[in-house]
Each structure stands twice: as C-alpha cells, then as structure tokens.
C-alpha cells in the first residue's frame, strides 16, 4: 500500500482503505458521504469534514478528507482507526513497507499538544493516554521527537510560535508513529526532554540562552516593562460601530496615547504589540510580553454586543472557566506562590515545576484581578458611564502571560452614543488617562508589596 505525501501529511485514497478492510464502499448522495459496508462494523466518511462516524462513535481526523481528481484522499490514520475498531479494539499496526497488518494488544494515543512561553524558557507538552517510548534528535536549528506508536488525536498540525526561542511546532502522523518537529532559533540555551506521569506526557523545555546561569534577577536594576496590546489590526477590524468606526483603530489610538502618558510620567519602558494597523496573531502578542519579561500586560479593546443599547466599560482577567474563582483555586494559589521561584532547569523537581508552570496563570490571577479592579475603578471615576465590573474567562490573548495581564473593554462601539464618543479624540485621551492612573496605582502597590522598587527611580 502506498501513501501519498501532500502538504507534509500522509494520505490514502478511500478505495485503498476500503480494500484494506475488505469493505464495500458506497456513495450516499443524499448526505454527500461515503458508507463502508462491512457488517457488523460501519464507517461513514464525509469529504470536506474531519469528523467520521465509526461504529456509531465520532472521531475527528487530523484533517478533512479531500477530493483529488477522481479520488477521495483521507489522512493515513483513518486506516489505523478503522482497523482498530473493526478488530474489536485490539491494537493494530500497519507496516507499510512489509505490507503487513499486525494485530496487537497495545494501547496508545497522543491526545494533544500544548505550549507556553515563559520568561526563561518555552515549554512544549505532548499529552498522552499512557506512557510511550520516544526518542529525539537535536541539532542547532531543530529538535525532532519520535513517539514510536500512536495515533495522533485530531487538530494538531503546525503552529507558528516565533517567541524568540521556538519558531514553529509541527506534528505529523506517520504510519509508524508520530513525529514532532520543533524549529528553533539559533540563539538559545539547552533543551530538556522528559516524560511525566499523572497524566502521562512528554515535556520539551527549550531554555533561553544563559537561563541556567541566571540567579533570581535583581529587580531593583531592571526597569518596569509594560506591554500595551492594541486589540485586532490589519485584516481583523475587530468590532465595527453603526457609523463605521473600527475597533482596531480606536484600540491603537488609545494604546499609543497610553504609551505616551506612561513614558512621560513614569520611569517605565513601554512595548507595543503593534504600533500600526498590522495583523498580529494572538499567540505572538503574549509571546512578545513573555520574551521581554514584561511586568504588566494591558490589552486594549472596545466592546460590542448584539443589543445596541448595551453601554459601559469592563475589564477582564484570565481564568480557565469563566465562573468566579473558586475557594479551592485560591488555596492552591497560595501554596504555589512559594514555589514559583523554583522554576528552573533542575532535574529532580521537574514534576513540581511542571505543576507550577502549568498553573502559572493561577499564580498571576490575584495580581491580574487586582490590576483589573484598579483599571475599572479609574475608568469609573473618569468616564462616568455604566461600570460593568471585573470579569474573568478563558481569554486567548491572556492565556500563558507570565505576568499580571488584563484586557480592557473601554466602551461599546456597537452603541451609537458610545461610538460617537470614541470618535472624539478628547474622549480617547480620557480613556488613556484612566488606564494610566490605574497602572500607576497598581505599580505603586505592587512595588510596595514586593518590598522593592521596580522602577529604579530611587536607585
């Protein structure tokens, strides 16, 4: 059996799969899908749709089956999935070279891929369902990790990270296993690869150059770095008001005004995730902040709602679930705060570190919610419109920020009155002033609490 490689994936034609499992293939024109007749098993494949129905269960393929000439191509893992299901969940291995199908009692799977950029390293995590053998090769520009067995769970292909350490991550399903390639920047420190249990996973840590030598940085010497993230940009206009005002323009203008105020009045360094009308991927925005070891991250947005009368401002911070933080979570947080300094490449406490870094958002949650409160308070005093409160939820741009991070929704561009206000430069300046006041208060409090001067003014 020959697979075709297109776009870095292995494909089989639907006919090849049907022949391999000795099934009759039927086209169901009404539903535009293919049925495999192989009683008692059943398999339904819909071109253009990555979900398949196998014995009544739904599986997601890594990509949707496609038409190619007269053939329907499916990702190669379909064969393995189909065989496993048909042969009563016994594990199957298809050896493409020997044209041999082996039925074994093996259990494996790769559930997913996660990654996070931290200030001194980037962590890539492969989630497994059981311990799996793996090997890796590294050279200056990349690391290639092979997980010897396993069907890749859906939806992980290639991800551009460009966080200053990792350029991109790519997962490929091979007939004999899964291959993970991580393309790296040349300037970097060591790499650690290790397996962890409960749940089973493989962790790859790529450290920044010199990260191992760094003791705790002396905070008094470093200026406070504030990252301002004007929402949307480029082809992504964000929300658009009834008179055509675009969120991306308002967010950028307020962001630049805030930058000016901060630089003029405080001893801080301000970085913008974009300072023009440019499309910037969400992942990159947090990566910029982590890479710069920023102290705070403020994402500036204006809001929209289907109900056009909705009015006011609100601030958001990250929580995994949007409900208010539970008591259990805050207890966990206190325990972890102590251990956070331990994030570093010492082998014996890898497990602890993983727990700590996985929960890094929890650690910054208190600070983030405090910053969100202060910003809200200042907006309340200066704007005098409806205060919609501090909220939390799984916001993409805040996820993985290794610092207090808040998303501000300053007004509703979908509300005709507020849109008109936002068109006025003085109103945008007032919003920037409010955000400035909130940041200044937070910085003062933060430094007092940390018992140090982050700004270095007293130096």
């Amino acid at each position: 059996m020959r697979t075709q490689e297109i776009g870095g994936r292995e494909w089989l034609s639907l006919r090849q799969v049907a022949e391999a499992v000795k099934a009759q293939l039927e086209w169901d024109g009404r539903h535009r899908r293919y049925l495999f007749r192989l009683p008692p098993a059943s398999l339904i494949v819909t071109p253009g749709h990555s979900a398949i129905l196998l014995n009544g269960r739904t599986y997601l393929l890594s990509t949707a089956p496609q038409l190619s000439g007269a053939e329907v191509l499916v990702p190669a893992e379909l064969l393995q999935l189909a065989l496993e299901e048909i042969y009563k969940r016994k594990r199957i291995r298809w050896d493409a070279e020997k044209r041999l199908i082996q039925v074994e009692e093996r259990d494996y799977s790769l559930r997913g891929l996660r990654f996070h950029t931290y200030s001194d390293h980037t962590r890539v995590v492969l989630d497994l369902t059981k311990p799996l053998a793996f090997s890796w090769k590294e050279d200056p520009s990349q690391i290639v990790l092979r997980v010897k067995e396993g069907v890749l769970a859906p939806h992980f292909q290639r991800q551009d990270l460009s966080d200053g350490l990792v350029r991109s991550i790519e997962l490929k399903q091979r007939l004999k296993g899964v291959e993970l390639s991580i393309r790296l920047e040349e300037k970097r420190g060591p790499i650690k690869v290790f397996a962890l249990k409960g749940p089973d996973r493989i962790v790859i840590d790529v450290f920044r150059e010199g990260a191992w030598q760094l003791a705790q940085p002396a905070p008094a010497m470093e200026p406070t770095i504030i990252v301002i993230d004007p929402g949307h940009g480029g082809q992504d206009s964000g929300a658009v008001g009834p008179r055509g005002l675009k969120e991306k323009d308002v967010a950028l203008d307020i962001g630049l005004r805030l930058k000016k105020l901060l630089e003029k009045r405080l001893p801080v360094q301000v970085l913008m995730t974009r300072s023009e009308d440019l499309f910037t991927p969400l992942q990159q925005r947090t990566a910029i902040a982590n890479h710069a070891k920023a102290n705070f991250f403020i994402s500036v947005h204006v809001n929209a709602a289907m109900r056009s009368r909705t009015v006011g401002f609100e601030t958001y911070y990250f929580t995994k679930d949007p409900s208010d933080s539970s008591a259990r979570a805050s207890v966990l947080q206190e325990n972890l705060a102590v251990n956070l300094e331990g994030v570093g490449p010492k082998e014996q406490d890898n497990y602890l570190k993983l727990t700590v870094t996985d929960l890094i958002n929890d650690v910054y949650r208190d600070e983030s919610s405090a910053l969100a409160e202060l910003l809200l308070d200042e907006l309340d005093q200066i704007l005098k419109v409806e205060n919609r409160g501090v909220k939390s939820g799984p916001f993409y741009v805040l996820a993985g920020a290794a610092m207090p991070a808040v998303l501000v929704e300053a007004a509703f561009i979908s509300n005709p009155l507020e849109e008109r206000k936002l068109m006025d430069e003085t109103y945008r300046q007032r919003v920037a002033e409010a955000l400035f006041e909130g940041i200044a208060r937070f910085k003062a409090r933060y430094e007092k609490r940390m018992g140090m001067t982050l700004g270095g003014r007293s130096g």
Partner: protein, 185 residues
C-alpha cells in the same frame, strides 16, 4: 394493494423526488418553513431551557418545547436550532442571523462538538461581551439540558478555530458553568 398503501407509496416516492431535486440543486440553504403557530403545550415535546441575553446584558433562560428525538445529539441539534432562531420575549439573540448549524455530535467522553458554518464568525459583531454571551449561551444551553454533555467544542466548517472574533480561547472544549445558576457575568 389497497388505496392507503398506494397513497403511502406515492408520498414516499414524491418525498424522495423532492429530496433528490434538493440534492441536485446543490447545497442551497434548505428552506425551513416555521409552523404557523408555536406548538401548544399539549403537543408532545420535551421542555428545554435556552439561554438568551436579558435587558441587563446577562444570560437568562427561556423555556421551549422541542420534538422528542431518538438520540441526545439529535435533540441537542433541535435545541441549538431553536437557539439560533432567537428569543420569543424581550430577550436578545446570541447567535448571528443566518448562522447554520452544520453538525452536532457527542463523543463517548461527553464532549459535544458543535459545527457551524462561517456565517457564525463573519456575521458576529465581535467584542469580548458579545463573544462571551454567544459562546456561553451555547455551552450553557447544552450543559443545562443534557447531563451527558460535559463540555462543548466549537468547530467552524468542521475545523477547530482558535477564537470566534479574537477573544475567548476556543482551542479546547469549554465547560458549562454551574448548571442551575442563571445570572452570569
């Protein structure tokens, strides 16, 4: 063969013909004709709770009857179709006009995969609040009415999407919030 049999056969044949023509015409939007009157309470159906936006900008429930279906996935599809159709009373819709639900399935682990067409994204007004209310009206409506649904994964034309309009992280399934808590945010 008696008359009623013939009639049945004719009905089946014409239905097949209509379906066939519909297929030949391609993927044009199926014309759904809403019932002239809302079904009365006496009619058989399952009472479900849908979450729409209140005047105050929070999610509130509205009760509906949906026709009973053999599987949870099919019933969940009915429920979301109602949610797309929008509220009856002084509430506000959460799903953009013209959105089509392409597929809904529930896997063995209780993850409901909800697949929308691109209209869901392109017609969405955006904003953190708007996006939040849209996503959680779906997640909470499914979680509230179907105990077998533990979490919800949103898909766009069969593929994962990082976010709807740049705010909430949709790469992983979302859990319904406390099932009986009605006021949110």
């Amino acid at each position: 063969m008696d008359r009623s049999r013939w009639f049945l056969l004719a009905a089946v044949a014409s239905a097949t013909l209509v379906a066939g023509i519909g297929f030949l015409l391609g993927q044009t939007r199926s014309t759904f004709v809403p019932p002239a009157r809302p079904p009365s309470l006496e009619q058989q159906g399952r009472a479900v709770h849908l979450f729409f936006v209140s005047e105050g900008g929070t999610l509130v429930e509205e009760e509906r009857l949906i026709p009973p279906r053999p599987t949870a996935a099919e019933e969940a599809k009915e429920v979301l179709t109602e949610l797309i159709r929008g509220p009856r009373v002084d509430h506000f819709p959460t799903i953009p006009k013209g959105t089509n639900l392409l597929a809904l399935f529930i896997d063995v682990e209780g993850t409901a995969y909800v697949d929308f067409d691109l209209t869901f994204q392109t017609n969405h007004p955006g904003g953190s609040l708007g996006e939040f209310l849209t996503i959680y009206s779906i997640v909470d409506t499914l979680g509230y009415n179907f105990p077998e649904i533990k979490q919800v994964q949103i898909l766009m034309e069969g593929e994962e999407t990082p976010t709807l309009t740049g705010h909430l992280d949709l790469r992983r399934p979302l859990k319904p919030r406390v099932r009986l808590q009605l006021s949110v945010t």
